[in-house]
């Protein structure tokens, strides 16, 4: 089954990354087909593995401040900033819908 345009559009929204061309979409199709091989394996009664270190306790350290005060260094790598703020464009504007976006998917 091919992935529907709605799902492709949804993915572009979620990832904020574009498919760019039919090759990109093909790539996803092939990736799904490849992953489908997983269903050949019988995993009844098997617990999912999150970490190979699951048998150990997570390290918790004391709640002491050991570093910080590096505002200047951190701001150096940002392109847009004002005083000690990172500047972002307005946030409450959603990405345009499929019909209005300049995306490859529009033609599909």
């Amino acid at each position: 089954q091919k992935v529907s345009v709605e799902v492709l559009d949804h993915l572009e929204h979620l990832a904020l990354v574009d498919f760019r061309d039919s090759e990109g979409v093909e790539r996803l199709q092939k990736a799904i087909e490849f992953a489908d091989q997983l269903h050949e394996v019988n995993t009844d009664g098997v617990e999912p593995l999150d970490s190979v270190l699951e048998d150990r306790c997570l390290y918790l350290r004391e709640d002491d401040v050991t570093e910080g005060n590096c505002t200047k260094e951190l701001l150096e790598n940002a392109r847009e900033k004002v005083e000690e703020y990172f500047v972002a464009p307005p946030g409450n504007i959603p990405l345009p819908k499929l019909e209005e976006r300049d995306t490859f998917l529009q033609g599909s």
């Binding site: 498919f19 790539r27 997983l38 394996v41 590096c70 972002a88 307005p90 959603p94």
Partner: protein, 517 residues
């Protein structure tokens, strides 16, 4: 050996540093380095020289030139991950492993080239271009290659280094540094190590800190060590391993650095040969080499048994799903706001993010992000992501069963064949190539086990072929001891490269000065 030379004053750290820097310049065509930190390296070398003069070197690594893969943060030095997204990004801090090496007095020569964000198995997909395998220019390879026509120069026949730590492997292999850091998520340290004829160690997950290593797959990434001999790898491991409060995935057990014994009696050893590693596509040459290696152990008195890891062939599929899923999450931090590339698009936050990511990432990265997001969709989560996690447990359990049955170390091939010519390699896309090439190295990452590539012999084409040893969790000492014994038995030849001969002629008289320990 170089370390001893430094101590005895036969050579000074600044001389060594300058030799390496000039060799880097002569081997620029390899494209192994992205950034060369000439000034800071010389300063570090001078400081080291002072310490040697006072008779107070910090340790074996003092004054030793090293290189670091460009996905490790290095303070004050550009860290790009071979991507447009991080071009111009100057790290504000040192990754823990980098800091540890610097604290030991090592001299950081520069950052090495890789596949973009360490995604790939050829070191061909970074924005700075592909890395060329130094063996492409070796006498051994040139002797075996038949020039098709007089005008076809050696330029077009060069072979890849493997990936994704290709730059680091090429740097060590071409003698421009004595050790290099790579990263290993699916075989990214061992694969190029095999193709470039160097030792590539993937430590147990949790042994070495990942703080400062730009993450790909948090549950599988480890820093990798590339050196020219097993003893060197043990030395570097000794300086890097141990708990790091800044990385909560490092174990708290005390790590004691060790020196490798010279094993002479292998009769108490049990070597496992997993039959599923006779993968489709495995070259006849490597199969023979693998067989010979098994015989070598058997003839020396070790117990060699065939074992089974039944879920091996699903490892690559499982990796594909888990990797893309974690990548989708890890790459979300690149939005242009705090660091890295930022698009000029300013209409809204979302459109700025989208434009930045469109401009910053290449096809491979974008492809993996989108696939990962697909597998993480609500309707797919159980079917793909959780399913892959369950298969992962089955794979890890395979290893547990085998090691519990008395096997000490597993012996497998590292790659399916020797290094492919670049022209051939690029005929298939990144995902296909990764799926093909990671097949033998991937499972160790799934299970978090330590594994090492030991260069074994030259192929018929005159290129290096390596074999892989996989050990028990946190048993690096045993693993490296076996690897060292094997290394001694096979006597892998040194690369015969014109540039190296020219540079090291005066400093070292004989050929064996390949190691620093």
């Amino acid at each position: 050996q170089v370390s001893a030379a430094l101590k005895e004053g036969r050579v000074t750290p600044t001389e060594l540093c300058q030799q390496c820097l000039s060799l880097i310049k002569s081997t620029k065509f390899l494209n192994a380095y992205i950034t060369i930190a000439e000034e800071t390296a010389l300063k570090q070398a001078e400081a080291s020289e002072e310490r040697y003069k006072r008779g107070q070197p910090l340790g074996i690594l003092d004054g030793i030139p090293i290189a670091v893969k460009d996905n490790f943060n290095t303070a004050g030095i550009e860290t790009t991950c071979a991507s447009n997204m991080l071009r111009g990004y100057i790290s504000p801090y040192n990754a823990t492993v980098v800091q540890k090496l610097l604290d030991q007095g090592a001299v950081l020569l520069g950052k090495t080239n890789l596949d973009e964000f360490a995604m790939g198995s050829g070191s061909t997909d970074g924005v700075f271009g592909p890395v060329r395998n130094p063996w492409s220019y070796s006498r051994q390879y040139k002797e075996k290659s038949v020039p098709k026509s007089h005008s076809e120069d050696k330029e077009s026949n060069w072979v890849i280094t493997g990936g994704s730590s290709g730059g680091s492997a090429a740097a060590v292999s071409s003698f421009t540094c004595f050790a290099a850091l790579g990263s290993d998520t699916g075989g990214s340290t061992r694969n190029p190590a095999a193709h470039c004829g160097v030792v590539g160690l993937k430590p147990t997950y949790g042994l070495i800190s990942r703080h400062g290593l730009i993450p790909l797959v948090n549950s599988m990434d480890v820093p990798g060590i590339l050196t020219r001999c097993v003893d060197d790898a043990a030395v570097v491991l000794g300086s890097l391993a141990g708990h790091d409060p800044k990385d909560s995935t490092t174990i708290q057990d005390n790590f004691k650095p060790f020196e490798l014994p010279n094993l002479t009696d292998v009769s108490k050893l049990s070597i496992g040969i997993p039959k599923e590693y006779r993968a489709p596509g495995l070259s006849g040459e490597i199969l023979t080499l693998w067989s010979k290696a098994a015989d070598l152990f058997q003839n020396a008195g070790a117990k060699v048994v065939e074992v089974s890891l039944p879920h091996t062939r699903y490892s690559i599929v499982c990796y594909h799903v888990l990797c893309t899923a974690e990548v989708a999450s890890n790459m979300a931090r690149f939005d242009g706001l705090e660091y890295g590339h930022r698009s000029d698009m300013n209409e809204s936050t979302e459109s700025m993010y989208a434009a930045t990511r469109r401009e910053g990432f290449n096809d491979v990265v974008r492809g993996r992000i989108l696939s990962g997001n697909y597998f993480l969709l609500k309707q797919n989560y159980e079917k793909y992501f959780v399913k892959a996690q369950k298969v992962r447990r089955l794979i890890a359990n395979d290893f547990v069963k085998v090691f519990r049955s008395g096997v000490d170390v597993l012996l497998t091939p590292t790659t399916l064949s020797d290094a492919a010519p670049y022209k051939e390699f690029i005929k298939e896309d990144n995902r296909t190539r990764s799926a093909q090439n990671d097949i033998l190295t991937q499972a160790a990452n799934m299970a978090g086990l330590p594994a090492i590539n030991v260069p074994t012999a030259l192929s018929e084409r005159g290129l290096p072929v390596g074999l892989q040893f996989i050990g028990r969790s946190f048993q690096e000492q045993q693993l490296l001891t076996v690897a060292k014994w094997f290394e001694k038995q096979v006597q892998f030849p040194m690369i015969q490269l014109e540039e190296i001969k020219r540079h090291y002629h005066d400093v070292f008289q004989h050929e064996k000065s390949a190691s620093f320990s």
